[in-house]
């Protein structure tokens, strides 16, 4: 499906008039976009490194994952809002930018992966007693599966961050 019409609409919207007119505000929004990316990747990194048994081994993994959840949601909302604002200023340029689509594909994959695979497997791993203090459940998740899930998560999110940076170079 060709999404060109969305970008054409965004390019001529009131938001675009505003974002193209105030360069200083655009730079401030970019700052919040980067800061929220730091928050998102930082929280995911903490959870994944905990599941890899690299960090915070003495803290139950459920506690770590639960604590990061709220901040991941805050970061995602800020990323999307600031991202739409940024995109409105250069909508047509972005439509023809390969790295932009790589980033969007990575973001969509990252979100689907986090909510459909990563989080359910982490929760099941906690319940299956792989982690200290976890109760024994019927369906155990093998430790190597948990580790693979964590490594894949890290690769996806670092790819999203890096491709975001490369939008500026292409």
């Amino acid at each position: 499906m060709d999404l060109l019409f969305i970008f054409e609409w965004l390019d001529t919207s009131m938001l675009a008039d505003f974002s193209k007119s105030y360069a200083g505000l655009f730079a401030i929004v970019q700052t919040f976009h980067i800061a929220s990316m730091v928050m998102l990747v930082g929280m995911i990194l903490l959870g994944d490194l905990r599941m890899l048994n690299v960090l915070l081994r003495e803290v139950p993994s459920q506690k770590v994952i639960d604590n990061t959840g709220k901040w991941i949601k805050i970061a995602l909302v800020t990323i999307v809002l600031s991202g739409v604002y940024e995109a409105s200023a250069i909508a047509m340029k972005l439509y023809f930018n390969t790295f932009y689509w790589a980033k969007m594909a990575g973001l969509a994959m990252g979100l689907a992966y986090m909510y459909l695979i990563r989080n359910p497997i982490y929760r099941r791993a906690e319940l299956s007693g792989l982690e200290p203090g976890g109760a024994i459940a019927a369906e155990a998740v093998q430790p190597w599966v948990v580790k693979m899930v964590a490594v894949t998560s890290l690769v996806i999110w670092f790819t999203v961050s890096a491709s975001g940076r490369w939008i500026g170079f292409s």
Partner: protein, 192 residues
């Protein structure tokens, strides 16, 4: 005096072929900058977790000392690679960076953030921490954590704004800005 010295140093760095090669390389500069951003997420991501705990707004059910002790290594690892990649980025474009008002603001903010970090470190390295399990740490610790997040947000902003040429030396701007940005040639033209 300092502006002249910095300009001479940057001009000297600019004479190196490797500096020009790095700046003009098709992929290497992009990779160095990507590394800078990725390690920023590692360093600041870990710092954010610590600061949110010290502010008393997140990770309240985990002892503060555990986060401070355990996240220190990955945080410092990210910091070291971030600094190395940052030095390389400066090396690639030494003169423009030296004469960028935003780069100068960024360096000042980095120093301020560093001093603040040392003060926080002194407050959080005492063992045992009397407030280790308190959801909300003492006020001075919360103020330190708040300052830390503010400084780093401003560092990101200054780093981001370095890409813009609003206050570059070739632009027409007030005398004070030429001095603040270290535009030695433009300042000399003013004095003639």
């Amino acid at each position: 005096m300092l502006n002249e010295w910095l300009y001479q140093f940057a001009s000297w760095l600019d004479t190196f072929e490797s500096s020009t090669n790095l700046h003009e390389s098709l992929y290497m500069y992009g990779w160095v900058e990507s590394t800078h951003v990725l390690t920023l997420t590692v360093f600041l991501g870990m710092l954010l977790v610590i600061d949110l705990r010290l502010l008393g707004v997140g990770f309240k059910n985990i002892p503060a000392s555990t986060l401070v002790d355990r996240l220190d290594k990955p945080m410092m690892l990210g910091f070291i690679v971030m600094i190395i990649s940052g030095v390389l980025l400066f090396y690639a474009i030494p003169v423009r960076s030296t004469q960028s008002i935003f780069f100068r603001v960024k360096v000042i903010l980095l120093i301020a953030a560093g001093i603040n970090a040392m003060i926080i470190r002194r407050m959080t390295r005492q063992r045992p921490l009397t407030w280790d399990y308190d959801p909300s740490p003492p006020k001075k610790v919360r103020v330190g954590a708040g300052l830390s997040l503010t400084f780093w947000l401003c560092v990101i902003a200054a780093g981001r704004m370095m890409a813009y040429d609003w206050w570059d030396c070739h632009k027409e701007m007030p005398h004070f800005m030429y001095w603040a940005a270290g535009c030695v040639n433009e300042l000399a033209a003013f004095e003639q």
